[in-house]
Symmetry: C2
Subunit: 151 residues, 2 copies
DNA sequence: TCTTGATCCTCCAGTCGCTAGAGGATCTAG
DNA sequence: CTAGATCCTCTAGCGACTGGAGGATCAAGA
């Protein structure tokens, strides 16, 4: 049982910004930054002007962090958050957002793979000799060595 | 012999910054930016203070552009350029730089692929119904839905 | 009670690699 | 001679933070 003492009053001790940072892995200045751009609501303050948070903040910030890690831009996250705040809405928008994002990830992967092939070719041609005959420098100096025009 | 008086000297008409931009595909403000950070040397000026370039500048700028397209950072390019300027040196450094870069590209690809899988799962789980049951929001709200911790 | 060190606050500046705009000078073609 | 293209410098902005200065406040130990 997750009772932590005999008294059943789990009154939620507000978190400091440092505790919030530790629980979410988001750095303190970043938390303040998110507040400043309106991704996080303005945190209530103590008498001595320190920000206080509750468990809801932890969830919201984790949501943000997770979305950022997944490569969503702040603007997209703003939209996702407002959807998450309003769970009766149809989720076509969230779905569209995610699908758009997926397409972008896939194109990024494709471009990186082309790029990896170029750099790999570059590295493999290097005889570790002299710059004069260095494939790396040579390839960089002349696009004609490349397989693709696209980059 | 490169005497320049009586012979039909192909004296190189200096390029304007606009011509250089057209020949390399690098925008004019970017060229000036490269000069300001020392990637390009300070261009000699005409009497009316306009920058002049020669074919060497075209090659150098193409080198820079190509390296940027391949994802090298400016600092790395700075090193590559100084190596290219000094072709008697062993090229271990250039090779190392490129190999480091390759490793980074590969790790980026791996992370993006993990990410793609997450987002794909996210999208596929969406029933286009309500946010309440929307997989996208749910996954973002809880990292535990993810396959990987790494992102 | 005092003191020390940790934590917090605000504000400002810097990061990277450009990009854009203001406001003005100069070139080139007709 | 004039119109429009091109150039110049300088400054500020982008996105998403990150770091530091300088100062207030808190919690714990002597």
């Amino acid at each position: 049982m997750p009772t932590m003492s005999s008294t059943p009053a789990p009154l939620p001790t507000p978190l400091t910004i440092g505790a919030l940072a530790r629980q979410t892995g988001v750095k303190i200045p970043t938390i303040r930054y998110y507040e400043s751009i309106g991704l996080l609501p303005e945190a209530p303050r103590t008498g001595s002007n320190r920000r206080t948070y509750e468990d809801g903040s932890v969830r919201r910030l984790r949501f943000i962090r997770h979305a950022r890690e997944l490569g969503f831009e702040v603007e997209a996250i703003r939209q996702l958050l407002s959807m998450a705040d309003d769970p009766g809405q149809p989720c076509r928008e969230a779905d569209l957002l995610a699908r758009t994002h997926l397409a972008e990830i896939e194109s990024r992967i494709a471009r990186l793979e082309a790029l990896r092939d170029e750099v790999r070719r570059m590295v493999e041609g290097c005889a570790q000799d002299q710059v004069r005959s260095c494939h790396v420098i040579e390839v960089l100096a002349d696009h004609a060595h490349c397989l693709h025009d696209s980059h």
